[in-house]
Amino acid sequence: MAYKLKELDYSILQQCMHCGMCLPTCPTYDTTKRERNSPRGRIALMRAVADDKISITQEFADEMSYCLGCLACETACPAGVNYAVLFETARSDIEQSKINNSLTRNFWRFLTLRGLFMHPRALRSAAVLLRWYQQFGIQSLVRKCHLTTFLPANLRRLEPQTPRICRKFSHQLIAAYENPMEPTTYRVALLTGCMQDLTFSDVNRDTADVLLANHCSVHTPPVQPCCGSLHGHNGETELAARLARRMIDLMPPENFDAIITNAGGCGAHLRHYHNLLADDPQYAERAREWDRKIRDIHEWLIQINFRPPHAAPAETPLHVTYHESCHLAHGQKITQQPRELLRSIPGVILTELPESNWCCGSAGVYSITQPEQSANLLDRKVKHILATGADVLATSNPGCHLQIAAGLECAGSTITLIQPITLLARAYRNEKKIPITS
């Protein structure tokens, strides 16, 4: 994988023939109507860097930071431009130029990208501290005493949105190896993610349950590193490659029929380990095998012809609308499977969400780095959700989940957020409570 635009295979840059089909689908172009904030404008800038027409300037770095990386442009692009690779290479080039370096930024990046998200045990320990902070009333005390004013402005604004850390993490809910009651047809590995593990470990349990209900034996290594998507999207290609190797060693792809992910943001990255490891003679072939085995949970269930549940997830019918995670819809092109799954659940009435595949503004750390644009997109999303009149918003990415939950709460809405797989798991569980009729 190239670390600089100049090292990149030039034909990837040439693939863009600047027809403009991407413009109406780009959330930042839609906001500003400036070409530089559009996919083809950004690609033109990247090409200018590769051609030595411009250098990596602060403006260039700012522009790449303003891009959400939502990949809506990839869905729109008939020419098949690989924007994800262009974007990640540009960000990597920027990091190497050190143009963005500052003490604070370096500190936070060191703490997160090199520290916590390289060491899963340390990440869980930090989360335990955060849990205590939330549990023992310290958080409310800090808020009452306005101690949050000591935080940097961006974090202060986001402090009320700090995710609730789960009482138990995935390894405390899922055994390393679980077998279905009925005969095993598939052997799968389950990725528990980072945010998903800390804040939605119950969704991981639900995922395991749904897999078990569909004849899959489930292997869930108790300690899993970050998949590296965070590093890849933030210009730390070398770290991303290191994590990819660890992941492959931990869950050797040759041992499984599929490696299952339930977080849209991780999945898009997980499918492209061969890009990261193509030059590594030891891992290149295994990375290709890994990419072939990666399946989003919704995709996998449809592929194996999953069993539709015969009970409903709740006592009363649920009006559900579905928000698509960008990296599930645009990054992995998985759009129909989650809907099909939702439609299969008795008692779920699915209403389409207008602009369902338009970014909610979460986009990794975008809400921290670009708070204003992130808030614009969240407002737009919340308005559409409220207009559907749904009681439940289903979405399958922890980032979207947290962002939209905060937005809905802010709007005083009582709409609940549930990941589709949880609705399915609840329906399966309820089967045991009701006698099967017909």
Binding site: Q14, M17, G20, M21, E35, R36, R42, F60, E63, P78
Partner: protein, 460 residues
């Protein structure tokens, strides 16, 4: 004249500081449009918010003899909005209001930056219809459509942009604002001045507002897909449908290369093993649609169609039309550079032209994908090449010259809907002949004696 700091300052006074871009990172993405291989850096990009600001910018430019290149969304396919010389780009995308839909007169008034698809959406709220549908309709602006006199998939039955323009507001090269045309269906007061500006490619004036004619929305629509083993059979089918005095709304042709590229992107199950396909659509009164569809199906079968399938519903029809609109961009999957042509011939000559294109590409060892609006004789042979390969680019130019010569010999035109711009100006004199060519230049000189509006486009 070079664009100095003081002029930039004056521009910021007119449109506001946020609406003038001069940094390299801001301006570079305005150095091209949807056309391959043309690129040039402007000195500044300016975003006027209303007609008065456009006029003020033009006056300032005229005063200092600075050239102006007008731009909408930059999706043009002849290099019409690529900057030239030391110029400022006037980008009109922020003047995008749809001002009025008048169901009593069947008209719609909009600012130049309104997006084409939004115009039809606004019309449809009243059960009305704006037919011109260029491939880029989701992002192209109506001002750009008027400047290029854009066509689309429905040209055969519904005509092109010109057929729907009833009135224009135009800023002249000296900054005067004029209004041409009106909401009257009949108007023969003097020369039809608005027609001079339609298709003038930004060289005579800047269109800032349009008054458009609307039609009642057709009650029914039927879409069919016919597949062929031989490209010529598809072309013969089109000629036979026209000869049978049937005017469907769409008769689109795609050759095998194009079908494969479109299918690779859209994944809608197009047959990738046939040599060509025709996408046929008829619309109008329910009974007439049923009758026409039946006749077209029979003609297609009689002319060697392997299979004819009928779209099951409106959604399927829309998918087919949307997929077809991606043809040009989808062809870019194959090679780094796509050189798109726009030659148009009388419909009786389609089969000859289609075979000639294939033979020419073959002779020069070039990859070509041909698609187009066959119903109106408009073809888009697209050469798939690499601009860095000078030898291959040379062969592309030879092939283009031959295709143009053949087109003109068959009584055709070098451009059916993309305009001359930069891409086709080398062949304009060849088509028009010296006298017509000079007359065109005289008009330009009369209206824009200092050559300030879009200089170097259409002719030097």
């Amino acid at each position: 004249m070079p664009i100095v700091e003081s002029i930039i300052h004056r521009l910021t006074e007119i449109v506001g500081i946020a609406n003038v871009l001069t940094k390299i990172e801001d301006v570079l993405p305005y150095g091209f449009d949807g056309t391959a291989t043309f690129e040039h850096l402007a000195a500044a990009v300016v975003f006027p918010q209303n007609t008065a600001q456009v006029a003020a910018c033009v006056k300032l430019a005229a005063e200092h003899k600075i050239s102006i290149v007008t731009r909408g969304s930059g999706t043009g396919l002849s290099g019409g909005s690529v900057p030239s010389g030391d110029c400022i780009v006037l980008c009109l995308v922020q003047m995008d209001a749809i001002l009025e839909v008048d169901p009593r007169n069947l008209t719609l008034r909009a600012q130049c930056g309104a997006i084409t698809a939004k115009i039809d959406e606004a019309a449809s709220v009243h059960g009305l219809f704006y037919p011109p549908d260029p491939g880029s309709l989701k992002i192209s602006t109506i001002g750009g459509n008027v400047a290029e006199n854009s066509g689309g998939l429905r040209g055969l039955k519904y005509g092109v942009t010109r057929d729907y323009v009833m009135g224009l507001e135009v800023v002249l090269p000296d900054g005067r604002i004029i209004r041409l045309g009106n909401a009257c269906v009949k108007d023969v007061a003097g020369y039809s001045m608005k027609d001079l500006f339609i298709g003038s490619e930004g060289t005579l004036g800047i269109v800032t507002e349009v008054l458009l004619k609307l039609l009642p929305r057709p009650a029914a629509r039927r879409t069919m897909l016919a597949t062929y083993e031989r490209m010529e059979d598809a072309a013969e089918t089109v000629s036979a449908i026209i000869a049978a005095a049937i005017i469907p709304c769409t008769l689109e042709f795609l050759d095998q290369m194009t079908i494969r590229c479109v299918e690779a992107y859209a994944k809608i199950g197009l047959p990738t093993d046939c040599a060509a396909l025709l996408l046929m659509e008829t619309d109008g009164h329910t009974a007439a649609v049923a009758d026409e569809a039946e006749k077209m199906l029979a003609i297609a079968k009689a002319h060697g169609a392997r299979e004819v399938t009928i779209a099951a519903n409106a959604e399927e029809s829309m998918k087919l039309a949307s997929a077809r609109r991606t043809a040009f961009s989808a062809l870019a999957r194959m090679r780094p550079t796509t050189i798109l042509e726009d030659v148009t011939v009388p419909r009786s000559e389609l089969a000859t032209m289609v075979s000639f294109i294939a033979a020419t590409a073959n002779r020069h060892q070039l990859q070509v994908g041909t698609f187009g609006h066959m119903g109106d004789g408009n073809l888009h042979p697209t050469f798939l090449t690499d601009e860095r390969d000078t030898d291959e680019m040379h062969r592309v130019h030879l092939a283009l010259d031959e295709i143009v010569a053949k087109t003109l010999a068959l009584g055709g035109t070098i451009t059916g809907e993309h305009g001359v711009g930069l891409a086709k100006k080398q062949w304009l004199r060849q088509q028009l002949g010296d006298d017509s060519y000079e007359l065109m230049r005289q008009i330009k000189h009369t209206l824009d004696p200092n050559q300030l509006l879009n200089p170097g486009k259409i002719f030097d």
